[in-house]
Amino acid sequence: MKNIFAALLLLTGFLCSGTAAALDPIDYQSPAEEQRFKALAAELRCVMCQNQSIADSNAPIAHDLRMEVLRLMREGRSDDEIKQYLVERYTDFVLYEPPMRGGNWLLWMGPFVLLLIGGIAVAAVIRTKNKQSDAAGNGATGEDW
């Protein structure tokens, strides 16, 4: 079994390593449609080649999903509706940008919380050093280099 998984992984790796450009000549109805399509495709994850968007991936399912997105766009659905349509079928995983939902709060806010904590620490250090500096009477400006 392990060998089969290894082989599958290798096959997926080969498919997903960009050995062929994810080429789909499409006749766009307008430049606006082209821009919207490309933007949308970049926001959806290829469920097979999971570290690529469907815009970049050359997996067959990525092609299918691109065509589906185009079809839904031409049906008149909004970006959010299209995303919701795909989430219903492939879970949140198909969204390349993790939605601001539930546990993902940690993901989006985490760096800023860390920045805040770090900032407080840095401010504390600066304040201490500043006090020491004033106490030492360092009126003159310091060395250049």
Binding site: F5, A7, I61, T91
Partner: protein, 175 residues
Amino acid sequence: MSRLLPLLAFIALALLLFVGVRMNSGKDNSAIPSPLLGKTAPAMRLPELVLPESRIGIADLKGKAYVLNVWGSWCVSCRVEHPVITELAQSGTMVVGYNYKDSPEDAARWLARYGNPFALVVQDRDGQAALDWGIYGAPETFVIDAAGVVRFKHIGPLTPEIVQEKILPILQEAP
């Protein structure tokens, strides 16, 4: 105290990585769970592959529990799981084949060569209908109960253990 922070942070990280390695030993960690679990299966509107062994039509699926197996003649792992599927079918389970991105000739030839365990084979040549099921490759296997609700999905080849532990219990529920 602040001197301890880096160490504590690292311990948390190491724990996470430890769990990660254990979780990913031996199983395919790229499988996506199915959002269809607990929901009604998408309506099947695909053409049937006409074969001498086909015993039923799509209309006959209503009110019965069945296993839906996604396969293709191009799919290497499908050949690997074929004996498991065959045994499942022979034990009385209704197994429906979902022929994914395949030509009817190739599919028929594959079934003639390796044996046809499917009570019915539906054909999805371009993969469009598969999107409704959240299918993205083969092999994949669904279990649909008598009420038409998707109860289980497995991505990758089936093993006897999975059949025993996951599939049969659902099928053996009272209708």
